[in-house]
């Protein structure tokens, strides 16, 4: 149906572009115009750097014939003298949705999620729609084109912005006159994004990591399909094969997302151009390292209306900063040598384009670079340098005529020529009638002053005795029109003066009085126009706001510089070694090159910063086996009952304030787990909380591979409250079947590949399909990847151990495991560890038998026990949670402390490097004010690999700086409002603190 509709559109559309030269013409006789037009005496910017003073631009049939100092002008040429004017190539915006209607949401609103596609002949996921052809959805939009033309644009790229793979884009010349010259390319770009299609209800992917995994799988499938291994036809993949030859544009819409998409590009040898967000400056080093080109929007945020302090106090610090720093983004990108084009995308109104660009220039963005970003760069990114973006011979005659330097505030853009068709923005022929005149209207003398802009003058009329007479002047097509008010005792009357402006300094014409009587008027020029001198220049020129320096990350408590490794000597601390030495009193610990270098008494190291730790406690950093902080856009990929293909490593969010808060609670390492919405969840990321570092730098080096599994109420959607569950499984019985099925399939998958790889070349046959999901599960079977399984009741715990044993591997960790105490002996026998809560229970039916003695009983049965948080807030008090093992289970303090340090390290297979204070291990340590198990303990310093990432003392200084900065920016915003600039009302960012069962749609 939809395709039929598009076809129909095409049919309607074709007659509109019927002016191609070989088309039949039934409207008139042939009217071919081969005349030239020459623009002389202009300053011509052939390119931003190739400039001709007093040159001539010669065009014919919509193309540039020549541009130069001396150009031979043929006889059949219309000459336009542009003395004093400038010519620039028209701008290009390669990223718009010009002429394309926003795809509509499917009928029915929020329905039950659709798990499997019902479409035939296309890719299995409906958010992958490379078959979308923008041209089929395109209809030239005159109104929008005028807006773009006024802003200086001559050519735009356009596409259907819907879905993850969005299909091909077109290139359109904004020729409002000649529709035969509009279509420059019907397939030029191939578009991607991290947003789902609004036209389908398919649940997968429900998270950012799911989208990333989906793209990977699509590229694998594409390659496989391309090589003829598929037995079925897939129109999406076929379209994608063709689209791969096009310019690849990825709408990342965020600095970190650009880095994420760049990873995909690297893996598959792709060359994406990233559509950015304007916040690239916050992670410029990493952005630079992508070696990619960018398309950058300039929709700088408006200042907040901070006049109400109660509301202003709710504003997010990062939002305040972003407002302050945004105008510098272009400069920073440019200073770092990053190639980028500019786009009007996301602007509230087209007028903001020039305003904001001039603002960026005011904040240091180079004018030549600005011009390049609008002309030569997009042209080159599109592979169209010979046609657009410059005024080289043979290019399309797309150019702007301006009164002067294009990025000067006072400059007027008169005309925007596209393909040789003129679009008038301001009348260039308007005569300058500004000046002082003696005005005579039907014998009555007045004084008239005309000032303001040439094309938009203002009038001032006074009688000879200097009484002001209200008037309004307007100009159009060489006609002047003046409305003059006259008052009598009864009412105000309007008299109309009109006149044709002749080539004379004086003006004259006809007056029509309010009563209909007509007469003549004339004005004799007495003085030339003089620009009013700005009263005090300093005030007129907008003063630049002080720009707050970027911090790492660029939010509150960020580091002015990335912190550095130090040599540290802790003197006389109580040291909780977690080794056979136990708890040592009055002991020194030396940290050097990121490692624990020595433990002992009276240590000395000349180069070390000495920390007096007398009366304080030094421990290894807390390790949280189960955390969900610092994850971007979704902790659950619940769109399928297995999502082994997704990985949290793709979506670590380095800019989450919770990282800093973790450090303040003594946490140095966490396992970021996928949620528990499905039996087979996603892969984990083990991270060290290196506050300020980029996401990839936070990943634990050579980390052991983990995956989240889940059992019980969450995976069977027990608390969803929907009427028609559609996803298998809905019971614990089904959960077992999902596991058995996947493990069996993975086994077969591996066997198929083994067979294929072993076969001789001629017996190979068709290559099996690469399936990231099954690939991941084979790693579990081969004991290369460990399971951390969300679990509650004993039945399911036994079940998973049995399934694992059937497939000859061991479950590594049961996480939550609140009924672990009931089967502690069997867990010990299986060899699985436990990562549990200290005292949670009663929040759902399956935790009814959860007890705070669980950890101690399992520990005493010989199971490795850790306490985890699954909660951003509790994570920073895990030391207190460990103490609950002492309280409820009489575990010794030394052993209890291991519940949050060494034991989770063991469960994560990282105890060779972290989890205890031992010479040679990573210097991930925390200095506590007192016994760390006490409610009264505070972390004073948190160190990772010898770098201090949290220091209670420095924290105080940071708070003072934050207050100062906040006030500074609020002051700037108040000034903005005072100046009459637009402001937006205060709003507050809302963050989701993820737990296991947080689902996003």
């Amino acid at each position: 149906m939809k395709r039929f509709f598009s076809l129909l559109l095409l049919l309607i559309f074709i007659p509109k572009i019927d002016a191609q030269e070989y088309f039949p013409n039934n409207e008139s006789v042939q009217n071919k115009n081969n005349n030239y037009t020459a623009f002389t005496n202009a300053k011509i910017f052939v390119t931003p750097t190739q400039v001709i003073d007093k040159g001539t631009l010669l065009i014919q049939n919509g193309k540039v014939i020549n541009a130069g100092k001396t150009v031979v002008i043929p006889k059949n040429t219309i000459v336009v003298n542009l003395e004093g004017k400038s010519i620039y190539p028209s701008f290009i915006d390669m990223y718009t949705t010009f002429g394309i209607e926003k795809p509509k949401r499917g009928e029915g609103g929020r329905q039950n999620p659709l798990y499997d596609t019902k479409k035939e002949g296309y890719y299995w996921n409906e958010h992958i729609k490379p078959e979308t052809d923008a041209f089929q959805n395109f209809q030239y939009d005159n109104t929008k084109a005028e807006e773009l033309l006024k802003a200086g644009f001559g050519v735009v790229g356009s596409h259907v912005a819907d879905g993850i793979a969005q299909g091909s884009g077109i290139l359109i010349a904004l020729n409002n006159e000649d529709n035969s010259k509009r279509l420059l390319a019907n397939k030029i770009t191939n578009h991607f994004s991290f947003t789902k299609s609004s036209t389908t209800n398919q649940a997968y992917p429900s998270s950012l990591m799911g989208m990333i995994a989906l793209l990977r799988q699509m590229y694998f499938d594409l390659d496989w399909y391309k090589n003829g291994n598929s037995t079925t036809t897939d129109l999406s993949l076929e379209a994608m094969i063709n689209n791969q030859k096009l310019v690849q544009i990825f709408a990342a819409e965020d600095k970190l997302n650009s880095l994420r998409a760049a990873k995909i590009a690297k893996e598959f040898g792709l060359n994406y151009i990233f559509k950015g967000a304007g916040n690239e400056f916050e992670r410029i080093e990493e952005i630079k390292k992508t070696n990619a080109s960018y398309i950058i929007p300039i929709n700088f945020p408006e200042a907040f209306d901070v006049s109400n302090p109660y509301l202003a106090s709710q504003l997010d610090f990062a939002d305040l900063r972003l407002w302050n720093q945004s105008p510098t983004n272009l400069k920073v990108l440019s200073d770092n040598g990053i190639i980028f084009a500019l786009t009007t995308d996301k602007l509230k109104k087209m007028d903001d384009f020039r305003t904001n660009l001039l603002k960026a220039i005011q904040y240091g963005f180079d004018k030549t670079k600005a011009l390049e970003a609008l002309t030569t760069i997009p042209a080159s990114l599109l592979g169209k340098s010979n046609e657009i973006g410059s005024l080289k011979n043979g290019s399309l005659a797309n150019f702007l005529i301006t009164s002067g330097e294009i990025f000067d505030k006072k400059t007027t853009i008169y005309e925007n020529w596209v393909g040789g068709s003129k679009y008038v923005i301001k009348d260039i022929t308007a005569k300058d009638i500004r000046g002082s005149y003696d005005l005579t209207v039907d014998n009555t003398p007045y004084k008239l002053v005309i000032k303001g802009e040439i094309t938009a003058p203002e009038s001032e009329i006074k009688t000879l005795d200097s009484t002001k007479v209200n008037s309004k002047i307007s100009l159009a097509n060489n006609w002047i029109s003046l409305i003059v008010k006259s008052k009598d005792s009864v009412k105000t009357n309007f008299n109309r003066l009109t006149g044709y402006i002749e080539n004379s300094p004086n003006l004259n014409g006809k007056v029509i009085f309010f009563d209909g009587k007509e007469s003549n008027w004339s004005a004799v020029k007495t003085a030339a126009f003089e620009n009013e001198k700005p009263k005090d220049k300093g005030k007129d020129e907008a003063k630049n706001n002080t720009i707050i320096p970027v911090s790492y990350p660029n939010i509150a408590f960020g580091n002015a510089e990335k912190p550095k490794q130090e040599t540290l000597l802790f003197k006389n601390a109580t040291v909780w070694t977690n080794e056979k030495e136990g708890i040592l009193t009055e002991t020194d610990v030396l940290v050097k090159n990121g490692k624990i270098a020595a433990i002992g008494n009276n240590l000395n190291e000349a180069a070390a910063t000495v920390i007096d730790a007398k009366g304080k406690h030094l421990t290894s950093g807390i390790i949280d086996e189960h955390s969900h902080i610092a994850i971007s856009n979704g902790v659950n990929e619940g769109g399928h009952n297995s999502s082994a293909e997704v990985t949290i490593e793709d979506v670590v969010n380095s800019d989450d304030i919770n990282i800093y808060r973790e450090l303040a609670g003594g946490v140095t390492t966490s396992q970021l787990l996928h949620g528990s919405a499905n039996p087979i969840g996603g892969r984990s990321a083990i991270v060290k909380w290196k506050w300020g570092a980029a996401p990839d730098e936070m990943l634990y080096k050579d980390q052991p591979k983990f995956i989240k599994f889940a059992l019980g109420e969450n995976v069977k959607q027990a608390n969803w409250g929907i009427n028609n569950p559609t996803r298998f499984p809905q019971t614990r019985m089904g959960v077992e079947q999902v596991f058995t099925d996947y493990f069996q399939r993975a086994k077969e998958y591996e066997a198929t590949w083994k067979k294929y790889n072993a076969a001789s070349k001629k017996n190979k046959g068709k290559m099996p399909r690469t399936d990231i999901e099954l690939q991941t599960i084979t790693e579990i079977l081969n004991q290369e990847r460990f399971i951390s399984c969300h679990s509650y009741v004993q039945s399911e715990i036994l079940m998973l151990m049995q399934v694992a044993e059937k497939f000859n591997f061991r479950v590594n960790t049961f996480t939550h495991i609140l009924e672990g105490y009931k089967v502690a002996d069997k867990m010990k026998e299986h060899g699985v560890g436990a990562s549990t809560f200290s005292d949670w229970w009663a929040y759902k039916f399956e935790v009814n038998d959860a007890i705070p003695y669980n950890g101690p009983i399992m520990h005493n049965a010989g199971v490795v026990v850790a306490y985890n948080s699954d909660d951003a807030e509790m994570s920073r008090r895990l030391n207190q949670e460990a103490a609950k093992a002492v309280k409820y289970g009489n575990i010794s303090e030394e052993e209890a402390w291991k519940f949050v340090t060494l034991n989770p390290a063991k469960l994560l297979h990282i105890d060779n490097k972290v989890g205890s204070i031992k010479v040679g291990k990573d210097a991930d340590i925390v200095l506590w004010s007192t016994n760390p198990l006490s409610v009264y303990a505070q972390a004073e310093k948190t160190v990772i690999e010898g770098t201090v990432y949290y220091d209670a003392k420095k924290d105080e200084a940071k708070r003072v700086a934050i207050d100062k900065e906040r006030n500074e920016i609020i002051g700037q915003m108040l000034e903005e409002k005072n100046k009459g600039m637009n402001t937006q009302e205060p709003k507050k960012r809302i963050k989701v603190e993820y737990h296991c069962d947080t689902l996003e749609d």
Partner: protein, 433 residues
């Protein structure tokens, strides 16, 4: 299928009945606790104390080294040398007994539909036999204010001691207060899993106006004996004659200022702020009008990214220094089961500025004052209920909070519960000590 589920529920209930421990019998023998460090709950400590109680009331609070007692003055003497004695902790703004298991709707009785429900009374839904309550007592929490949730005015709360056969037996103060959820100045957009930036609540003034209208109407109604009775208006009578407290649930400075002024202008006699995250910014107003704050769960994140990481931990100290009477409340995620961590909320406040005895007041005498039950409990004082406990060590620290004996109105209560029973069963199974 539905039928089967019902049987299942019945079955579960029957298990829980079996696990329920009988409330203690009335105190018949007088008891003397000797030589413990007594934390009186009013800021004072007696290092070597003698605490005696008879017929449910405290009869002696003294320094053991300073007094002489007849040998048979008390029927039973507990030697608590090296141990510490505390007044029973009080959990205000609690939903204990209103919900058994969070995720099971059929076990949930905390929130009624409608907007102005002052006539809705929490006490009659209070399940004195909740398994959760048993697990709260062993950490020293012996008294709770059972509070309804939801709506603009959620309803009327009552205060109970936590060892009773039923709600009537548990009552300490019936219908003590009315709970008003003050409108928020910001409105959350999106939905819970997909929150958009929150924006100004455009209806704020309108919603505040509705409260004013409600209160003025109630006042007018109460001024006259109306012919047609209005149960809703009648239920707030106590707010105007000072027999009931208006608990205003509000966090933001703007809300608090608006709320307090609104309440004062309408002649409300007793006001307490619940939540009060930004109460410190409105401290002068609160102090001037003698309004205390039941501070929201301090084991929480700061509300804004740029706030002091430890701001929630420091809040009690900030408010106390400004002269405000502060108690701690624990509403929020998993609030019922988390009630047992109330002492550690106070401990955290001590870690971040208050001295330990001040921190103790946050869950004893201050709360008693704010709830209007300080004549009965909150401190170890002669004449008050003998609701107290003995801990092996500092009860505000999880490291040392180990309670060997607890008394409610003199009755020696059972500290066993569903969880400790399972502990015993399985330790025995595995031969653990």
């Amino acid at each position: 299928m539905i039928l089967k589920k019902r049987y299942l529920v019945l079955f579960i209930l029957s298990i829980s009945m079996a696990a329920q421990h009988a409330p203690a019998k009335k105190q018949t023998k007088s008891i003397l606790i000797l030589n413990a460090i007594a934390h009186l709950g009013n800021g004072k400590i007696i290092q070597n104390s003698a605490i005696g109680f008879k017929d449910g009331k405290i009869t002696l609070v003294a320094d053991a080294t300073q007094i002489r007692l007849a040998k048979d003055a008390y029927d039973e003497t507990i030697d608590a040398t090296g141990k510490e004695v505390y007044p029973g902790f009080i959990a205000p703004n609690s939903t204990l007994g209103l919900v058994e298991i969070d995720a099971i709707k059929s076990s949930d009785d905390e929130s009624e539909i409608g907007v102005f429900n002052p006539n809705v009374r929490s006490i009659i839904a209070y399940n004195a036999e909740s398994k959760v309550i048993e697990t709260v007592r062993p950490n020293g929490i012996l008294i709770a204010q059972i509070t309804p949730r939801g709506g603009r005015i959620s309803g009327t709360s009552s205060i109970v001691q936590l060892d009773s056969w039923n709600w009537q037996d548990g009552l300490m103060k019936e219908d003590d207060g009315i709970h008003l959820n003050f409108p928020s100045s910001f409105r959350q957009n999106g939905w819970w899993a997909e929150p958009a930036a929150s924006s100004l609540n455009k209806d704020y003034s309108k919603q505040v106006g509705e409260i004013t209208r409600f209160l003025t109407n109630a006042k007018s109604y109460l001024a006259d004996t109306a012919k047609e009775r209005n149960l809703i208006f009648e239920s707030v009578k106590g707010l105007f004659d000072g027999t009931q407290t208006l608990f205003i649930h509000a966090d933001k400075e703007l809300q608090i200022i608006d709320a307090v002024n609104l309440a004062l202008e309408n002649g409300i006699k007793k006001i307490v702020i619940v939540g009060g995250f930004e109460a410190y910014k409105a401290a002068d107003l609160l102090k001037k009008n003698n309004i205390g704050v039941l501070l929201k769960r301090v084991h929480d994140m700061p509300e804004n990214d740029d706030q002091d990481v430890n701001l929630p931990y420091k809040m009690a100290k900030i408010l106390t220094d400004k002269g405000i009477v502060v108690g701690l409340e624990n509403s929020g995620n998993m609030e019922r089961m988390n009630t047992r961590n109330l002492p550690f909320l106070a401990g955290t406040c001590a870690a971040y500025g208050l001295d330990k005895e001040q921190a103790l007041q946050l869950i004893t005498s201050n709360t008693a004052k704010l709830l209007g039950i300080d004549n009965l409990c909150g401190t170890l004082e002669e004449g008050k209920d003998a609701t107290l406990f003995i801990s092996d060590g500092d009860a505000l620290d999880m490291r040392t909070n180990k309670i060997s004996k607890a008394f409610i109105q003199g009755r020696t209560i059972n500290l066993e519960n569903h969880q400790s029973q399972l502990n015993k069963i399985y330790k025995e199974k595995f031969g653990q000590q």
